[in-house]
C-alpha cells in the first residue's frame, strides 16, 4: 500500500511538473515576439549554444558516420549489397541518428551550460535584480536562450548528418573500396524528401524540448550551489529521456 502511494505521489509530481513546464513554455512564447525584436540577443545565443557546440557535434558525427559505414559495409557485404551503403547510411542518419544524437549532445554541451548559467543567475540574485529593475527575466534572459537553442538544434543536426555521411563515405569508399558513384547515386535514389522532412521535424521538436528543459531547470532551480548542480544533472537526464520518448512517438506517427 505504501509502495502504491509512493508511486501515485511520484506520478502526481511528474504530472504537476509537466503542467508547470507547459505554463513556462506559454510564458516564454508570449515573450518571443519581443525577443525577436532584438535579434542580437538571439544571435549571441545561437553562437553560445550552436557555434560553440560545433566541435563536439562534428567530431561525434564523423565517428558515428564511420561506425555506421563500417557496420553497414560488414552487413551489406554478406548480402553482396555494398552499393547501397550510401543510401543506408543516409537514411539512418537523416531519419534517426542525426536528430537523436545531436539532441543528446546538445543537452550535454549546451543544455547544461544554459541551465547552469540561468541557475547561477538565480542563486546570485541576478534574476531578482532584473525584476526589481523592471526588466522581465523571461523576456530578457530566458526567451532569447530558448529561441537560440531551438534554432541551433536543427542546424547542428544538418551539420551532424553531413559530417556523418562524410565519415561513412571515408570508411566505405576510401577504406573499404565501395564504388563512389554507387555510394552517392544510391543515396540520391533512395532518400526521399519525406525522409528529410521526418528528420527535420524531429530536430525541430527535439530542439524545442531540449532548450525548454534547460531553461526551465535553470530558472526554477534551488538558489544554492547544490541546486544549480542538480538542475544541470536533471537537464541532461530529462532531455535524454524526453528526446527518446518523443523520437518513438514521432516515428510511430510518421511511419
Amino acid at each position: 500500500m505504501a509502495l502504491f502511494r509512493q508511486l501515485w505521489n511520484s506520478q502526481l509530481a511528474a504530472l504537476r511538473k509537466l503542467g508547470a513546464v507547459v505554463l513556462f513554455l506559454g510564458e516564454i512564447l508570449a515573450q518571443c515576439p519581443a525577443a525577436f525584436t532584438r535579434p542580437r540577443l538571439i544571435s549571441a545565443q545561437i553562437h553560445n549554444a550552436g557555434v560553440l557546440s560545433l566541435v563536439i557535434i562534428m567530431t561525434s558525427a564523423f565517428f558515428v558516420g564511420m561506425v555506421i559505414g563500417l557496420q553497414g559495409y560488414d552487413s551489406l557485404a554478406r548480402l553482396r549489397q555494398e552499393d547501397i551503403l550510401g543510401a543506408g547510411v543516409a537514411l539512418t542518419l537523416i531519419k534517426e541518428l542525426g536528430p537523436v544524437v545531436t539532441a543528446l549532445l546538445f543537452a550535454g554541451r549546451a543544455g547544461t551550460a544554459l541551465a547552469s548559467e540561468i541557475g547561477l543567475m538565480r542563486a546570485t540574485d541576478q534574476l531578482a535584480a532584473l525584476e526589481v529593475m523592471a526588466i522581465d527575466p523571461i523576456r530578457r534572459i530566458v526567451a532569447p536562450r530558448f529561441v537560440g537553442g531551438a534554432i541551433s538544434v536543427p542546424l547542428l543536426t544538418a551539420v551532424f548528418n553531413a559530417i556523418g555521411i562524410l565519415g561513412a563515405w571515408f570508411i566505405g569508399v576510401y577504406i573499404m573500396g565501395v564504388d563512389g558513384g554507387a555510394f552517392w547515386s544510391q543515396m540520391q535514389e533512395y532518400v526521399d524528401p519525406e525522409d528529410i522532412g521526418e528528420g527535420v521535424s524531429k530536430s525541430i521538436v527535439f530542439g524545442i524540448a531540449a532548450s525548454l528543459i534547460a531553461v526551465y531547470e535553470g530558472y526554477n532551480c534551488a538558489p544554492t550551489a547544490e541546486g544549480v548542480g542538480m538542475a544541470t544533472t536533471r537537464t541532461v537526464v530529462t532531455t535524454s529521456i524526453v528526446v527518446l520518448i518523443l523520437d518513438y512517438m514521432i516515428t510511430a506517427f510518421l511511419i
Binding site: 547561477l120 546570485t124 540574485d125 541576478q126 531578482a128 526589481v132 529593475m133 523592471a134 526588466i135 530578457r140
Partner: protein
C-alpha cells in the same frame, strides 16, 4: 486613508499577513515610512526583513493585508503597472547581484538601456555621473570579478540609482564589509538620500552603524513591529527585547542557550 497621510508616507503597510508553509512571517504587520527619510528596519535573523523588502517590490504577495507604495497597492497592480512602479524603485541586494558577464559601466547602464531609449552619448554621461557619485568612475572598465566587496556594493548602489528612483531599498548593505568600505557605504546612503531627495529603507543587523544615519528605526519580531522611533529613543526603550537588540546583549528575552534539559542532570544522570 486620509489624503494627508498619502502625501506624508511613501510606504504604508496595514494588516499584513504572510506565511511560508506553517511558519508565520507576518502576523498583522502595520507600518508607515515617511517620504524623504532613511528608515532602518531591524530585527533578529529570520524575522522577515528581506521578505518585507520583496513585498515592497511586488516579488512576493501577501496572504492578507495591504502594501501601498506611492499610493499604489502593490499586490493589486497589473504586470505593466507593477513594472512602472518598479522603475521608481531601486534595490541594493545583499550580495550586490551584479551581472557577471558585464563590466561596471554596462552593469550601471543596463537598467537605462532596457527601460529607456536614451541616446548613447547621454547614457554615457548619466552612467559616468552615477559612478562618480559613488567614487568609481575610474573602475568603469572593470569586471565584477575584479571588484572588492565594498566596490561591488557601490557599483550596485550606482545601478540602483541610475533611473533616479523615488525609493531606494537596501538589503543588509554593510554585511561583510571592512570598516573603510562600511563607512563609505554608510556615508553614501545618507548623501544620496539627501542630495537626490530619496526615501531610503535599510534592512540591517548593524545597529551601531545604521543608528548613525537613520531618521527612524523599526524593530520587527514575531511578525510585528515591536518598537519604532529614533535610534536614541529605541536604546532607552521599555522593552527588554528592544534593549537587548539595540545593545547586542548575549542573553535576555532572546536567550543565549537553546532550550535544553537541566545541565547538571544531563551530565550526571544516566543516558
Amino acid at each position: 486613508m486620509k489624503p494627508s497621510q498619502a502625501v506624508d508616507n511613501l510606504i504604508e503597510i496595514s494588516g499584513l499577513r504572510f506565511s511560508r508553509g506553517s511558519r508565520v512571517i507576518f502576523d498583522g504587520l502595520e507600518l508607515a515610512i515617511p517620504r524623504g527619510s532613511i528608515t532602518a528596519i531591524m530585527g533578529p535573523s529570520g524575522c522577515g526583513k528581506t521578505t518585507l523588502l520583496r513585498m515592497l517590490t511586488g516579488q512576493l504577495r501577501p496572504d492578507e493585508g495591504s502594501v501601498r507604495v506611492a499610493g499604489q497597492e502593490v499586490n493589486r497592480l497589473s504586470r505593466p503597472d507593477l513594472y512602472a512602479l518598479r522603475r521608481q524603485m531601486g534595490m541594493l541586494f545583499q550580495n550586490s547581484a551584479l551581472l557577471t558577464d558585464f563590466n561596471v559601466f554596462e552593469n550601471v547602464a543596463f537598467p537605462v538601456r532596457e527601460n529607456t531609449s536614451l541616446p548613447e552619448r547621454l547614457l554615457r554621461n548619466v552612467v559616468l555621473t552615477k559612478l562618480q557619485s559613488v567614487g568609481l568612475r575610474g573602475a568603469a572598465g572593470l569586471m565584477p570579478s575584479e571588484l572588492s566587496g565594498g566596490m561591488a556594493r557601490r557599483v550596485a548602489m550606482a545601478r540602483a540609482m541610475v533611473l533616479d528612483p523615488e525609493l531606494l531599498l537596501y538589503d543588509e548593505p554593510f554585511s561583510g564589509l571592512d570598516p573603510i568600505s562600511l563607512g563609505v557605504v554608510l556615508r553614501l546612503i545618507r548623501l544620496n538620500n539627501d542630495a537626490l531627495g530619496l526615501t531610503s529603507v535599510v534592512v540591517s543587523h548593524d545597529v551601531a552603524e545604521i543608528s548613525q544615519i537613520a531618521d527612524h528605526c523599526l524593530v520587527l519580531s514575531e511578525g510585528r513591529v515591536i518598537a519604532s522611533g529614533r535610534p536614541d529613543e529605541l536604546a532607552d526603550s521599555d522593552s527588554e527585547l528592544v534593549r537587548q537588540f539595540m545593545t547586542g546583549a548575549a542573553d535576555g528575552p532572546v536567550p543565549f542557550h537553546y532550550p535544553a534539559p537541566d545541565y547538571r542532570q544531563q551530565l550526571l544522570g544516566s543516558s
